[in-house]
Subunit: 215 residues, 2 copies
DNA sequence: AATAACTAACTATCTAGTCAGTTATTTATT
DNA sequence: AATAAATAACTGACTAGATAGTTAGTTATT
């Protein structure tokens, strides 16, 4: 049985795409939640952005909160694991490892829509403390430990001066995370533009110069 | 138009305090907006926190947005001016001036409820771009210029190595602002506690060591 | 013909903003 | 000094509008 009659695609036609829908809905939610906040985003808008209607969204996610949880879980965890594997297999100097970590943060987070998540978590931490807690335990703390271990290694190797790896780690990470938050919130409104790569280079250069034993 | 009013509670005593109300309402709004976000905060709650009813809030502020604007304007501008005056009258070294600026940031912003404002602006930048723009132009950029001028002075004096003052300024400020955001969002949920003062000391020490000509 | 992905219209609820009425306080009068 | 009238700060019940979540029905696909 053949379909001979033409099927131009008039508005109102849709396809059944069970596999693709959840990902598309999560993408739409990420974009809108980051832009408008959780409470400020309408489920109707999420649906329209994903090319479906609201009913479909509720077909795949129990409610608005479940969608929020799903997007954080889905988007973040793989990134952390990737970074941890990178570090485990690295054999070069601590300084060059820090440089690589910053570069990767730039490439894989700042330049992608993933940079929206820190802002989202921070914004909604008051309304979703358990989610924020999950994020802290599974992302922030792991990131902190990663960076601290690298610095510790640098000290052990005689590469860096004696310092508290935990606090130095926090200092480095704070401006990395802040850059993500900034890029997804105020950067586009600021007429004093800047080059993110040069920002990271500047940070790396000064911090490392302050950390290294021989200048 | 209206039906018969119920007899209001005869025991609920209140006072007329025209002068104090706006400030109290703004304080309540700052606390709740920071905790719940703008959209997530009910005007009824703001009123109750301020010890009045919703009607009173609308007596002093035209609407929810006006209240938001008022609190940002009221709370922030005096701080910026204070810092600018401080810098203008300072005669010591650039390094010690940076140290003082960081200490003052800690005392006057981080330790007070003012630290909630950066988080608030960042969270609501998507919904209130004009307000965010106002904040960028009147707070962020002025802060950036302040810090850049100090660094520039340090270079001119032969105190610091040659570097781009604008970018170094951004690096220093980014972790200062981030600390405010962090303290008002995720810090209380993080079981790995830390000492903010030691954080700033660590940052100051490493950055300055990287900036100074003689180590 | 059967299945299930998807739609669209519905409802239940929540809240920003309003306003008629209440009460603390001030001012005028005795 | 006591009392009444006037004023305006404040209340709380109300309305209008918005949106999270539901579901009966429609349509693509097998």
């Amino acid at each position: 049985m053949s379909k001979n009659h033409k099927r131009s695609c008039p508005v109102g036609r849709w396809q059944r795409r069970k596999e693709a829908r959840p990902g598309e809905i999560i993408d739409a939610a990420l974009e809108l939640f980051c832009e408008k906040g959780f409470a400020g985003t309408r489920m109707d808008d999420v649906a329209r952005h994903a090319g479906v209607t609201k009913g479909t969204v509720y077909l795949y996610f129990e409610n608005k909160e479940a969608l929020f949880y799903a997007l954080v879980n889905e988007m973040v965890v793989p990134q952390v694991e990737r970074a941890e594997n990178m570090i485990a297999n690295y054999t070069g100097s601590a300084a060059s490892l820090i440089e690589i970590l910053i570069k990767q943060w730039h490439e894989n987070i700042i330049k992608t829509k993933l940079s929206g998540i820190p802002k989202l978590i921070i914004s909604e931490s008051g309304n979703f403390p358990e989610l924020a807690k999950f994020y802290i335990d599974n992302v922030i703390q792991r990131g902190r430990r990663m960076m601290a271990r690298v610095i510790e290694k640098g000290i052990e190797r005689g590469e860096f001066i004696k310092c508290d790896p935990d606090y130095v780690s926090r200092v480095i990470l704070s401006s990395m995370v802040f850059t993500a938050v900034w890029e997804r919130s105020l950067a586009s409104l600021d007429d004093e533009t800047y080059d993110v790569e040069k920002f990271f280079d500047t940070q790396f250069e000064i911090m490392l110069s302050g950390l290294k034993k021989t200048k």
